[in-house]
Symmetry: C2
Subunit: 479 residues, 2 copies
Amino acid sequence: MDPSEFRRSGHALVEWIADYLSGSEEYPVLPRVAPGDVRAALPERAPEAGEPFEAIFDDFERVLVPALTHWNHPGFFAYFPATTSASGVLAEFLSAALNQNAMLWRTSPAATELEEVSLGWLRALLGLPDDFEGVIYDTASISSLHALAAARQAAVPHVREQGLAARSDLRPMRIYCSEQAHSSIDKAVLTLGFGHASLRKIPVDASFNMRADALRNALDEDTRNGVTPVAVVATVGTTSTTGIDPVAAIADLCVDRGIWLHVDAAYAGVTAMLPECRQYFSGWERADSIVVNPHKWLFTPFDLSAFYCRRMNVVREAFSVVPDYLKTAEGNAGVRNLMDTGIQLGRRFRALKLWMILRHFGAERLRDILREHIRLAQQFAADVDDHPDFERLAPAPFATVCFRANPRGIALTAPELERLNERVLDRVNASGEVFLSHTRLNGAFAIRISIGHLRTSGVHTARAWQLLVEHTAALAAAR
Amino acid sequence: MDPSEFRRSGHALVEWIADYLSGSEEYPVLPRVAPGDVRAALPERAPEAGEPFEAIFDDFERVLVPALTHWNHPGFFAYFPATTSASGVLAEFLSAALNQNAMLWRTSPAATELEEVSLGWLRALLGLPDDFEGVIYDTASISSLHALAAARQAAVPHVREQGLAARSDLRPMRIYCSEQAHSSIDKAVLTLGFGHASLRKIPVDASFNMRADALRNALDEDTRNGVTPVAVVATVGTTSTTGIDPVAAIADLCVDRGIWLHVDAAYAGVTAMLPECRQYFSGWERADSIVVNPHKWLFTPFDLSAFYCRRMNVVREAFSVVPDYLKTAEGNAGVRNLMDTGIQLGRRFRALKLWMILRHFGAERLRDILREHIRLAQQFAADVDDHPDFERLAPAPFATVCFRANPRGIALTAPELERLNERVLDRVNASGEVFLSHTRLNGAFAIRISIGHLRTSGVHTARAWQLLVEHTAALAAAR
């Protein structure tokens, strides 16, 4: 592309993106396409001759935009809303142009050291002690995989050389998390070769938080039976209900017994920036490793997962492999080469966006936005609690509320109630104005609203509530 | 950021990036900073109050730009040059703004289906049959990790549930690759819990290609000794010398014995687009899985690794975990949800850049650029071969040449020769005009030049050669 085409196309994109970021509300949150529509609209083969960027962009607008799920829509309340921000978008633009690969200090001193600086800033904002060394991975899935790999290495040092299968004297190993832990913990256990049966899911209390007494009993029982407890994963902000495992009590158990404690705070971790939320994290400073995802609720474009570890040397023991062609004088002199703490050799310049976002917003404004999201969720929870046709299904400590419609005066069987709620959710989502998701709690279907978008205001949450009330009333009346 | 600040900052960035992409030659390839310089230039804490983007960008230029290693410099000849392109940069800009997370079809029909379409285009360009299903991962490290995890699942189906350690009747398992295979294979073996000792490195021939006879002997020996061969990794384009393992002969062995064959073509795979290079890939159509990295030599910004697999169902068996909160009607109806084929749940919209790059360049121009890089490397190799003070240390089938200075008329011991070459390389790199890296071949230090940058021309390779010749002559004369 000659520079003039780049300038022309780039400036046009700036205008389009500016409109999109401030006007994403004009699109339906969920696209109105059927499976296969995009595929059918595109040719089967790449073109032989190049095409001008404008022509490609026309197809982008014609074929792809109508098939986007608008994560940037202020009515996106599904899963955990992951919202981008203007400073993050600009940082990614720059990062793509610079194309740094920070595998070695030498291959990008800027990216290597900015990763340390920006993770240091975030660590201080979260109130974590300085002995937590940080590294940026792509996703919480990969962060937790590294945590459990390090736990394996710490528990069974011969595993690096001999693996899990070689020694017949090896005691069975087990990993612990609550029934509400994220599926990425399951996947990490599968990947590492522990086997799914090695993941013991600890029951939760009525608030969907791990029961520390049940964990203690499980550890005692397994130890009596010759099992080696390798790691406990405590979650602060579980995916379904944003439940809060009792980290301090769990840390007591882990520290006493020398078990690796990993805290999955991928979602809620950023709220440790708020003094009023700090209580939920009590004890995490004693964890061995922690994951917090700025790409979830800190307005950072996908992907950026912050992994903090007090025993990063164990991660290095587990993963460092330095072939001849990657040896450098600086590495021999003790400079940190980020490839040593990761499975992935290639690493893009993710620290740039975190640094730009922290500076552009400033800590005070970030705290204000998080507080406002929590306030909106508390208001929503109160609306649910106050309405006779709805019931809340879980505590809502952060900005996510689980609830269901249960209209007064109509006796519904459990399957009927479930079907009603599915239909309410489908109709609300079909509006295109909002997108909520669901989960299942104690077997019951729950509607789930999560508030985390930079541009979401009380107008949007009120509209979501109004749609829920109206569709519930209509469906109840039609019975 | 209000829209007007975004527009202003965005337009300024377009201009800066346009200048950077066409003018990166004005920077030294390797920055002239010492470890700690960047860190020392930045505050220890994030600001409480937000700052305008312009102020942040000033610091970017003042502190970070002097500490960048310019992967975009046409004199970047180290490792494998990974070059971005204007269309790729624009695509990433857009992708950051859209912030799609294509974990489910529902969470981004556009990203889900464009991934299928663009990988289908690439598959056809590479001449691979349609029964290779594709998925985009971040890096070849993760692609090969999935390949070996699938191999493990295929060889030991109970591994998902019971893991590697549970059954005392489990035969020892082994993975095979050549001595020249990439360190990511070692890391995948470590991650998966096989243990490093389970990776058997097969000797190479004088051209640094795996010896198929040695592989056969190793498989025979291990099988006799009760070992289960789980997977063979064949590399087309090894990292040190771009050696080419005999894929067809290796495929014969693997197909006969039912062993998973993974082809690591992360670097050289794109040359399968050239009819004259297709011979090197003979037999890869019989592989179980293949990795090709567009972010290496197809002008795609980090990161984008294309993973093709003829048995993607095994990947799903190994990794699919679908919690209640991620169940969708479309998933039940058989639509592909990309989270099912990966460790990572979060997935950014990487297909967009591949699609835009393939269209903007067109297949013909991509082939022309690859051909030109190969031609420049062949010219460089001929220069080495023709010069009495230099010697080539490996064949150069693609665009990478390994060689060393060995000045005529001076009798040097092996350590002296090594020290001389290290000094030549250091001086050449200190020029700031080029950046070459090194490797070690049969114990000897080798200088390594790899040509793959979009803007590299014969002027740049000639200058690299001139610097090498001059510094070698000067150092030889000073003895």
